[in-house]
């Protein structure tokens, strides 16, 4: 079982051209400076940006292939995305945010709430369900965003700078929890981060992107900074 992605996205001032292969139950960290194309990779995998060339497939199922005009709608890809900043829906309560994916797939409210209960308890969100996203702390927003993405049982979990809203102390504190979440997720895990320490601590493998291209692809323990001669952070 593998995730294969050759992603080419052409923009007027930017070309993203990467080739990624990931085995099941592995965590890949994408690191690199701003504008390197990390988030674009996630968006292409999630189906929010169509690729101009290449192919994206998960477990042999093709999601996007311009040459054969194959395109699977984002809603049918089984890919859970935790967006930068959480991107919770302000017009809904925390509880409605968490069950959104099930409700969108046609589950009745009561059923969705029942299915969500173990996850809500696991993430300690029981007391927050009737709150609005704007009343939450950075850490709470991230937990809700992750629970929301996990509830639909995706095959792929994409996390875009999941700790960007936390201060550095909270970030380190959160690391252990993240590690447990990622390890407990059966499937493919891709994490975008600009924090080398986080990449080392959470991932098995690190890919460094610069200006839309892969410049390094190493085991996480061998990774020390963005590129061979810069020390990240």
């Amino acid at each position: 079982m593998t995730l294969r992605a050759r992603i080419v996205v052409r923009r007027p001032n930017f070309v993203l051209d990467v080739d990624i292969e990931l085995e099941e139950n592995r965590t890949l960290a994408l690191v690199g400076p701003n504008g390197a194309g990390k988030s674009s990779v996630l968006h292409a995998l999630g189906g929010l940006v169509p690729i101009d060339d290449g192919i994206i497939s998960v477990d042999g199922r093709v999601f996007d292939d311009p040459t054969s005009s194959t395109w699977v709608d984002p809603s049918e890809r089984d890919i859970g995305v935790v967006f930068q900043g959480g991107l919770l829906f302000d017009t809904m309560t925390v509880g409605e945010n968490i069950v959104f994916g099930l409700r969108a797939r046609g589950s009745r409210r009561a059923r969705a709430v029942e299915v969500a209960r173990p996850l809500v308890e696991h993430f300690g969100l029981g007391d927050l369900l009737t709150r609005r996203p704007r009343e939450l702390s950075g850490g709470q927003i991230q937990r809700v965003a992750i629970a929301r993405a996990l509830l639909v049982r995706p095959r792929v979990l994409l996390l875009d700078e999941p700790t960007s809203t936390l201060d550095s102390a909270a970030r380190r504190e959160f690391r252990g929890e993240f590690r447990r979440i990622l390890d407990g997720f059966a499937g493919y895990r891709i994490l975008v981060t600009h924090d080398p320490g986080e990449a080392r601590a959470l991932a098995d493998r690190v890919i460094v992107l610069e200006r839309g291209r892969i410049v390094r692809d190493v085991a996480a323990r061998d990774y020390s900074g963005w590129s061979s001669d810069t020390a990240g952070e």
Partner: protein, 268 residues
């Protein structure tokens, strides 16, 4: 006014703004001064007036509903879709806003009138006649009012962070589900503002309505048409009706402004 801050109002601005306020206020004062206060309740209690008021309320609400049902999707198309020639479509959709209302009425007659391009078939095939009926009033009002809604809602949808829609799509939401559950709720203050503006425009509509739907008491004679006609016969009645329309419009605008309209300007 904060005299010490750098945001002091320049005096020419104050003077001209005060003139603008006077420009809006003086006609109101004139109207209130002329109003037949002693006979007001008597005039407003007359059958013809009550019928016209009730007709205006019903038709303007129906026109606002039509404008909302058709205008919100159109606004979304203009804001979000990759529709080719979007600005041309927008110009077309908002043209009736700048068109003289009577011209709107004439074009409605030539298309949906009894001998109009489509109207004749409506009559032949379905036995439906729009001109000189209450449906004609609603059609004329919606025609003139919808652009206000479309512009307000399109502006509001532009303000919605499109990444939220992407997040909802990746969670399994179909485009229609995301439209209903994410986009429109996030743009709700703009939608509400648009509905109120469209309703107000429909409530006061005169030119297109009288041209297309005529002036039949009880059927197509709205309050503004009744006001215009009364001006010739009994100016006191026209003034009394004007006071009534101002009262209704003012009450709605003041009642809703803080709840909805204000928020589109300064989201909290």
């Amino acid at each position: 006014m904060n005299r010490r801050g750098i945001q002091r109002t320049p005096w020419p601005v104050s003077v001209l703004a005060a003139l603008a306020i006077a420009f809006f206020t003086l006609p109101l004062i004139g109207l209130l001064w002329r109003a037949p206060w002693r006979d007001l309740l008597d005039i407003l209690g007359r059958d013809q007036v009550r019928t016209a008021l009730w007709l205006s309320i019903r038709t303007s609400l129906a026109a606002a509903a039509v404008a909302t049902v058709l205008g919100v999707p159109l606004a979304w198309m203009l804001a979000r879709s990759r529709l080719p020639g979007r600005s041309a479509w927008r110009a077309l959709a908002t043209m009736s806003m700048v068109l003289p209302p009577v011209v709107g009425g004439v074009s409605l007659l030539s298309s949906f009138g009894r001998r109009g391009l489509f109207g004749r078939h409506l009559e032949d095939w379905f036995g439906v006649q729009l001109t000189f009926t209450v449906w004609g009033v609603i059609l004329a009002q919606a025609f003139v009012a919808m652009p206000f809604l479309v512009l307000a809602v399109e502006g509001a949808i532009h303000q919605v962070d499109s990444r939220l829609e992407g997040a909802a799509r990746s969670l399994g939401g179909s485009p229609w589900y995301v439209f209903r559950r994410i986009t429109i709720p996030a743009a709700r203050s703009g939608v509400a503002a648009g509905v109120v503006l469209a309703w107000a425009r429909a409530f006061g509509e005169f030119g297109a309505t009288i041209t297309f739907a005529g002036n039949y008491p009880g059927r197509t004679q709205t309050l503004s048409i009744a006001t215009y006609l009364a001006l010739d016969v009994d100016p006191d009645v026209a003034t009394a009706l004007s006071v009534l329309m101002i009262a209704v419009s003012f009450a709605v605008l003041v009642g809703l402004r803080d709840r909805w309209l204000g928020r589109t300007v300064a989201p909290t």
